[in-house]
Symmetry: C2
Subunit: 365 residues, 2 copies
């Protein structure tokens, strides 16, 4: 079977299947009258309250959606409906699914580069000072998809300030923040800025299970009602039974122990991936060294064609995503996103050895 470094998805052993089965049963028995009926468009009350308390906001500002991508879609639909096609700033590289949503919705996509310390704030400020006013900055500051990079503390504070100074709406997408193996987390931009112009989205996909499709966004007060109405007008209510199952999982105290277990397994995989890159890949290869999350970003030696490598790798039974998929303009031609979330360490070793053997001769050590 193909060794997959392609999808940012957990392997089955990361999923607390038996316990979620029991949580679903208990949640439906206890609260079936609510969660099996048409319900609140904003999400399951107890989970919404818990999230609101965790983020220090009123529950009305929390919108729980069928996965956090749907929340992103609602936000951009709302911004586009208000003022026509929206000008949206994104990181380069960034998560490919939002790029596709933006293209579909006709948004004008403006890229801001990343470096090892995350988003380049000088470039951002230059754009804010000189360009037309953007509707939104979409950023993944922690263990970024696809780069694995994390925005430094100093930059976080400056980004919070820029949001105020330029009246910039920011969506801080943070699905990986809790999936930390080591080191201390910096405050979120949402916390630093106070949530006035910074929205915060996350999900339970990486901390509980992606299949529950429970994501959420904490919205600025001025946007919360309109975007919740947009959600209701799209699906009446989100799927409450899985939200109630996640809430039961939290309520019985399983969230933190499960997260520790998941982080332990992912840390071994990250370690295997970093060691394999170091062992098998030629000089001139550069890669990120994330303290958490799912991804390592690899810059292959100059001139390596990542798309060609991707094709040869598929034949050799290894998959990954070529870097160009994460740039709206197709740059990143010598880069690759490698996910270590889906495979155990031994298969990561094997997959990297195969990949390295496929590199063009001039690039090999």
């Amino acid at each position: 079977m193909t060794i997959s470094f392609a999808r940012g998805a957990p392997s089955a052993d990361l999923l607390p299947i038996e316990e979620l089965a029991d949580c679903a049963r208990v949640a439906l028995e206890r609260d079936g009258k609510t969660v099996l009926a048409y319900g609140s468009g904003g999400g399951y009350g107890p989970l919404r309250d818990w999230l609101a308390e965790r983020h220090g906001v009123e529950p009305e500002r929390v919108l729980i959606t069928n996965g956090s991508l749907q929340a992103f879609v609602f936000l951009v639909e709302h911004l586009s409906a208000a003022d026509g096609p929206a000008r949206i700033l994104v990181e380069a590289p960034t998560y490919d699914r939002p790029l596709k949503v933006l293209a579909r919705l006709g948004a004008e996509i403006v890229t801001i580069p990343l470096d090892d310390d995350g988003l380049d704030l000088d470039a951002l400020e230059h754009e804010l000072r000189t360009g037309p006013r953007p509707a939104l900055l979409y950023t993944i500051p922690t263990f970024q998809n696809p780069s694995g990079r994390t925005l430094g503390g100093e930059r976080r504070r400056r980004l919070a300030e820029l949001a105020g100074e330029y009246e910039l709406l920011v969506l801080e997408d943070d699905p990986y923040g809790l999936v930390r193996f080591e080191g201390e987390g910096e405050p979120t931009i949402f916390e630093l800025e106070g949530g006035r112009r910074v929205a915060f989205s996350s999900s339970f996909s990486k901390t509980v299970a992606p299949g529950v499709r429970v994501g959420y966004v904490v919205l600025p007060t001025s946007l919360a009602q309109a975007i919740t109405e947009l959600a209701v007008s799209t699906y009446i209510s989100p799927v409450l039974p899985t939200q109630a199952a996640v809430w039961e999982f939290i309520r019985r105290g399983s969230f933190e122990p499960n997260l520790s277990r998941v982080c332990g397994l992912l840390r071994e995989r990250r370690d295997a991936m970093l060691a394999g890159l170091d062992r098998d890949f030629p000089p001139g290869t550069m890669w990120s060294r994330p303290q958490g999350g799912y991804f390592v970003w690899v810059d292959l030696p100059d001139g390596t064609d990542a798309a060609g490598l991707c094709e040869r790798a598929a034949e050799a039974g290894v998959s990954f995503v070529k870097g160009a998929d994460f740039f709206p303009d197709g740059s990143g031609g010598s880069s690759a996103r490698l996910a270590y979330s889906a495979e155990p360490p031994a298969r990561i070793d094997e997959g990297l050895a195969r990949l390295a053997s496929l590199l063009p001769e001039p690039a090999r050590a």
Copy 2:
């Protein structure tokens, strides 16, 4: 507590809560590796296969969504993206939520009137012959929301022919078709036409429970791939655990017995509503007599202001939806939609007596 004739929602005693709790547990234990991971964008495989067989199509033509309203949104988004704002034909009156979606997406809404036998096909053909080409006809031919009316067999055959003759894409929305208390059902337009230009949507909201949010659409071959991709680009995969729970409910043979039980309870409610209207409402009131579904449509005596009645009813502890909400142009000012799904017979009696007492004097018997 307010007696609700407002929402097309089942009361809690119509929901098989205990059994769905067990189905959710069994489904997650058996197939958690699949349904708790990111999964198929088209829906849970076994349920998709079952629906495909039931409708005589390939599984690729079935898209299971988080409620059928989301499927409607996808279809209209797709039609709008292809050719700009779409011209959409709807019944007058029609379900209010799609009207709101169409308004939000900037569609041009064209109404075709209904009579007691359902959609007026002479009016439809006139529009098709003389108007600009529409992107879609949206119709609810059986136990229509809001009117409770059902399209007759002769008209169904003619509508199927018109779809071919005018190359008209039709969405036949059929959430209530299985919720029949008496009489024989006519074939669906989808069946009569062969599913070439007629898409068919339905859901498990009225046959199992709305909170599972499991709806689906059977798409023409030419649209299936693009609309499934639109679904994936919006939410990666739908919420599979509740789809798997519904499948387990079907697999163990609970679907038909539960539906019989639900239809029995609803029939008593419909009977109570028709009897109450006959007993309490003044001459000059007209109402539909549905053989199934959730709704009775009431045309109040000429000149009665349904909006005003709605306000007075709220003060008297009775809710319903005024007719104007189901017309894009605000007509239907003397009409009301009364849902009998949410209240037991005794409360239906009481609610109708209160409503009748609020009618303006000249309109009372």
